[in-house]
């Protein structure tokens, strides 16, 4: 094929060139030579026609596909076809234990066509979205909560009719999608979301995390064979384990690909902790803090930060002012809501010999900075082992591999072998987490009596970039036995929902490492906590009823060092006293009473309560499908409290059409940025064409042109 195509060019074309050159050097031109020249030009013309012909073919072919199964952005579009620029603005107000965020996403259409923008974005793992507004120029349209199917239907209708419309759906508890149709050419539409979240308080420090991007997730399972060429919003196609894979896999691009005007976030925090704050820090960004009485205003030093990593802000109360207990109250629609926090403040000093299993994720998504953090974390974990402990190291990507057949004593020899093993770990391949969980949870040593006396702990080091979280949670819950599972989140944008829930089902706790220089502190704290839970069998009794049925979380897990007990209840006025009791590691009883009458006024407690209740209803979905009752209950709660859930979505639509229906609407999937330091598993397609055809065409055209001029010249001036 190669040869036959090249043949004519290589034989004829240079000949032609020589002939023309020869003819021009002669001062006189004979009629014979002229005929020669004419003949050659004719040949060149034929060749050129053969060559130019494919150009038309190209144009018509792309045109056909553009109209058919592929959705291509016009060639004038940007490199990745993203003509929609995205910028976000976070405005966070923390009051007490609840952080309230106003998130503005503005979509600017830089193209000449009407656009629909689709943006998949992360929110904090415990975010509770309760409000949405769409702003288009002067018009402000307040979004309403609808059942998801109904919202979808109305969205499609409005989109069809050319009315401006925006919809926000929940894909995962920490993953959402904004869709916005009929953005006029050259204009900006803003979607404003309001959400609240509980601030994490542990070991005398508050922590707030604002995710801005997500690590591309691995989708296990077999590809579902439905129209493979169907273009969708994501890079992944649905699989048997993740049927909505295409919905949660936005394209990932590097910051250079989006240009300087897109994917920037402005962030401002106002911390109103209700007590003097002594210190504000951020391991992820350089921040400035301004004290204003008890209020602290925090913002990143650079005005607009790149959306390629989570923003983490920590603040600590002044020394000696750490809260031991707190109560907040709120009245909403005639109902009382109470939120109580109790810090047991006890230290378990007892240390039992343990069996520690380290599981490290070496999948492709960990490549780059993440795997270095993970190795560092694991090495530090190995350092804490005592001679009477037993341990093992398991790595997993597409396959699971464990260093030892079973847990071995932490002798110098074994530790040295483990260190060498860990230093040689590289990240590559898929994230088949289920088999790793099996290996970590099922591997019980044959030590019999001896191993039963040990505390069995699994430390799971991962970025949580998987699409089948809930199946994994089910696996943890069913296979846990007497083990405890602790998770360590790795990277610039770990899936914190996975960390938190996996640890909850694993009766452990979680932490996250965001930077190589920040490995020691979070990890030491986690390893310290792991020594022993300080409080177990916790019972909370609210006044007026023996068992508070409407208190959430309804079953409080074990508490580790420095962790508070937090519960929210509905239908109780701030009267009487709350009793919290539990068992200390040495077997003795611990009890504390909290006077509810000193309750401070809180905001958004009812939403927090509803969210907790929804979460507990959704937990039943792990065993299989969520039954209709629970589903209806979730929808009812969502509509009543105006909350976004898996079954309820926000929708804002304009009443009057703005796009003339004869004009086309292009859909644009807005990409997310590759998390900082991540190499990513996504490869660009290489450049696979040469200049050759173009050069040959230019050469041929030029030679023909020269020949034509020569001929013309001889004809006009013989």
């Amino acid at each position: 094929m190669l040869l036959t195509n090249l043949g004519p060019y290589s034989s004829t074309a240079p000949n032609g060139g020589r002939q023309i050159a020869g003819s021009m050097t002669g001062s006189k031109i004979s009629p014979r030579l002229r005929r020669w020249l004419e003949g050659i030009s004719l040949w060149l013309a034929v060749l050129l026609f053969l060559f130019v012909h494919p150009v038309y073919a190209e144009a018509s072919e792309t045109g056909r596909e553009g109209a058919g199964e592929f959705h291509f952005v016009d060639d004038a579009g940007q490199r990745l076809g993203s003509a929609t620029l995205l910028n976000t603005d976070y405005n966070v107000t923390v009051s007490g234990l609840i952080a309230d965020t106003r998130l503005r996403q503005s979509f600017r259409n830089t193209s000449q066509q009407w656009r629909e923008g689709v943006f998949v974005f992360p929110l904090p793992e415990n975010a509770n979205v309760y409000g949405m507004t769409m702003t288009a120029g002067e018009r402000v349209i307040v979004g309403e909560i609808h059942e998801k199917q109904e919202a979808k239907r109305q969205y499609a209708k409005a989109k069809e009719e050319g009315r401006k419309v925006a919809r926000v759906d929940q894909q995962r508890p920490n993953l959402f999608t904004t869709r916005m149709a009929n953005i006029p050419p050259g204009e900006t539409i803003t979607v404003e979301l309001n959400y609240q979240q509980a601030v994490r308080y542990q070991s005398g420090e508050f922590e707030l995390r604002l995710p801005t991007t997500l690590t591309p997730r691995y989708m296990p399972g077999q590809a579902l064979d439905n129209e493979p060429a169907q273009w969708s919003g994501g890079w992944a196609t649905p699989t048997s384990a993740v049927p909505d894979a295409d919905q949660i896999s936005p394209f990932t691009v590097r910051p250079d690909d989006v240009g300087p005007d897109s994917h920037r976030a402005t962030i401002a925090l106002e911390i109103n902790a209700g007590l003097p704050v002594s210190r504000v820090s951020s391991p992820s960004h350089r921040v400035t803090s301004t004290w204003n009485g008890n209020t602290v205003e925090v913002a990143p030093e650079s005005r607009a930060v790149l959306m390629d990593r989570d923003l983490i802000v920590r603040w600590a109360p002044a020394r000696g002012m750490e809260p031991a207990a707190a109560v907040f109250q709120e009245q909403w629609q005639g109902e009382d809501y109470l939120l109580a926090l109790v810090v047991p403040g006890v230290n378990g000093k007892q240390r039992l010999p343990r069996e520690l299993v380290f599981v490290i994720d070496t999948s492709g998504s960990m490549a780059g900075e993440s795997i270095r953090q993970a190795r560092q974390a694991l090495l530090r974990g190995l350092d804490t082992l005592d001679a009477d402990d037993r341990f093992n190291v398991i790595q997993f990507n597409s396959q699971t591999h464990s260093l030892f057949m079973e847990a071995v004593p932490a002798s110098g020899n074994n530790l040295a072998r483990a260190r060498r093993y860990v230093k040689g770990l590289n990240a590559d391949g898929g994230t088949e987490m289920a088999s790793a969980l099996d290996a970590a949870l099922e591997m019980t040593g044959d030590g019999g009596e001896e191993s039963r006396a040990r505390v069995r702990q699994v430390v799971f080091i991962t970025d949580g970039a998987v699409g089948n979280e809930s199946a994994l949670f089910g696996k943890i819950r069913d296979g846990l036995g007497s083990s405890r599972l602790f998770t360590v989140g790795i990277g610039s944008a770990p899936n914190m929902h996975f960390m938190r829930e996996a640890a909850r089902y694993g009766r452990g706790t979680y932490t996250a490492i965001s930077d190589l220089s920040d490995v020691a502190r979070p990890l030491d704290e986690l390893l310290g906590k792991m020594e022993a839970p300080v409080l177990t069998d916790i019972a909370v009794s609210w006044p007026g009823q023996a068992a508070a049925t409407e208190a959430f979380p309804d079953r409080i897990g074990d508490l580790f060092r420095g962790e508070p007990m937090v519960q929210v209840v509905r239908g109780l006025p701030a009267e009487g006293a709350l009793d919290v009791s539990g068992r200390l590691p040495d077997g003795s009883q611990w009890q504390q009473s909290l006077n509810l009458e000193q309750a401070a006024n809180g905001k958004g407690l009812h939403r927090h309560w509803a969210k907790q209740k929804i979460d507990s209803l959704m937990d039943s979905g792990l065993t299989g499908k969520i039954d209709d009752d629970a589903r209806q209950h979730v929808i009812r709660l969502g509509l009543e409290h105006q909350l976004m859930t898996k079954y309820t979505s926000f929708l804002a639509q304009d009443k009057t059409p703005s796009r003339p229906t004869q004009e086309a609407l292009e859909t644009d999937s807005v990409p997310t940025l590759l998390p900082a330091g991540s190499q990513g598993t996504m490869l660009r397609y290489p450049q696979t064409a040469t200049m050759s055809p173009l050069l040959i065409a230019i050469g041929l055209i030029g030679l023909m042109f020269s020949a034509a001029i020569t001929l013309l010249k001889r004809r006009v001036y013989p």
Binding site: F72, R79, P228, F251, M682, R684, M691, I698, G699
Partner: protein, 203 residues
């Protein structure tokens, strides 16, 4: 005037020659690479085809359909693609997917003749042949789609080239992707015989 025309003609003749030089170079280089491949198989180490090359042969790709036998080079940078198809993602041993890219104007021009069900063979340095069956051929837009190496099945082979095959544009966004899955491992000796026969038939 004559000089001007002469200048014009020589310029375009040069352009044409450069244009023709690219496929010529690609063709001749493959011959040289054959030697380097034979040497690297014999010595079981990376052998550079010429001292200043920044790439080396890593595999041999056979397309029985077109009778083509190509030496695959390491990496898909301009330097390697000029001389042979480049291995973007690869495995020295057995496990893991393989992605090979090539120029649509030269080495991978023949990909357009592949169809679902066609066979493609890949030989590694040990001389073992693996046979792949084409499952699917797609045209992708590289502005929208990337290769997700974590998502590829471990026994898959991806051949990538530009699309359309007759296009003039050298940095167009479309890619022609041939997806194939390994069938079975053919033992070295049997495959060598089969190869010899096929090579004769192919030429």
């Amino acid at each position: 005037m004559n000089r001007l025309i002469l200048l014009l003609a020589t310029t375009f003749a040069t352009v044409l020659a450069v244009g023709l030089w690219i496929p010529f170079k690609a063709m001749v280089a493959q011959e040289l690479l054959e030697l380097a491949w034979a040497e690297s198989q014999a010595r079981q180490q990376e052998t550079r085809p010429w001292p200043w090359a920044d790439t080396w042969p890593v595999a041999r790709l056979m397309v029985p359909e077109t009778g083509q036998s190509l030496i695959v080079l390491d990496g898909a940078h301009g330097e390697s693609l000029a001389f042979g198809p480049g291995q973007v993602v690869g495995n020295d041993g057995r496990a893991g997917p393989v992605v090979i890219a090539g120029h649509r104007d030269t080495h991978f021009r023949g990909l357009q003749h592949l169809e679902t069900g066609s066979r493609v063979k890949l030989q590694d340095r040990d001389g073992d042949w693996r046979s792949f069956r084409v499952d699917r051929i797609r045209v992708v837009d590289s502005r929208h789609e990337q290769i997700n190496t974590a998502q590829l099945p471990r026994d898959s082979l991806l051949l990538v080239t530009c699309y359309p095959f007759d296009g003039l544009e050298n940095n167009g966004p479309l890619r022609y992707v041939v997806e194939a899955t390994a069938e079975s491992l053919v033992t070295a000796n049997k495959a060598d015989n089969a190869l010899a026969r096929e090579a004769v038939a192919g030429t």
